[in-house]
Symmetry: C2
Subunit: 145 residues, 2 copies
């Protein structure tokens, strides 16, 4: 027998979106463990490794996190000796250290492992399409085009 709350939950995009995010986060944390970083930090490293001197604002835009979160993340990565900042006027430009650069292959490896892992479960094509769709939909929800 199915209850009201089952309908309500299964039928609620807020709920299912969060559920998916939590399962994916678990997988991702698991795979990124080899890098010593949690996934979002790893993505941040990728962005910095690719664009030395990237501003925090840009980082926030790329990763879709708020400025304050960027500040906090950079602090931690700095403490781990993976990045450093150079003040340029009111901007803070972020560069990766040697140690940070050396991490890149591991990060890419972890990313691939994660990709394979969920692709194996849900099917690669499904994964690709879903990813694309979620990207678009969350942009729509945020009023971007």
């Amino acid at each position: 027998m199915e209850h009201f709350h089952d309908h309500l939950l299964k039928g609620c995009l807020y709920f299912t979106a969060n559920q998916l995010a939590r399962s994916m986060t678990k997988l991702a944390e698991d795979e990124f463990r080899i890098t010593g970083l949690s996934p979002t930090y790893a993505f941040l490293m990728i962005a910095v490794n690719e664009k030395q001197g990237i501003s925090q604002k840009e980082l926030g835009e790329v990763l879709h996190i708020t400025p304050s979160t960027v500040t906090r993340f950079i602090e931690k990565l700095q403490a781990k000796g993976l990045v450093y900042a150079e003040q340029k006027g009111r901007m803070s430009l972020i560069y990766s250290t040697e140690k940070g650069k050396e991490l890149q292959p591991d990060i890419e490896k972890a990313w691939l492992n994660l990709y394979d892992r969920y692709s194996n479960i849900i099917g690669e094509q499904t994964g690709i399409e879903l990813t694309e769709q979620l990207f678009q939909i969350s942009n729509q929800l945020e009023g971007k085009k």
Copy 2:
């Protein structure tokens, strides 16, 4: 020009799933504000209102949150006078108070408003299908079925 990190992010289900969850959470928090609760608490109330004396374990299963989180949520709802617990052996059975029951219509209203809001943006049919798909996929990812 598109960078490596753009590909990587747009092409990563971990990333897009979290992004979607964050946008949806923002909408949901906004709509559920009228209830004085944040969305997950509101869902918890729904579950308790429907099944008086539900166990915490069951609540966790329904809402897909861990036991410790259930404990914490119940504490807060208790502090607000919306639920109370009765110890039955090693279980803690949860009931809603009068005040908790009175909240139900507001919660349902909020839920409907949320539904309408995202349906308007992404299309009702899209929303329904996506919700269903996310539900299935996160279950797959968690190895259920």
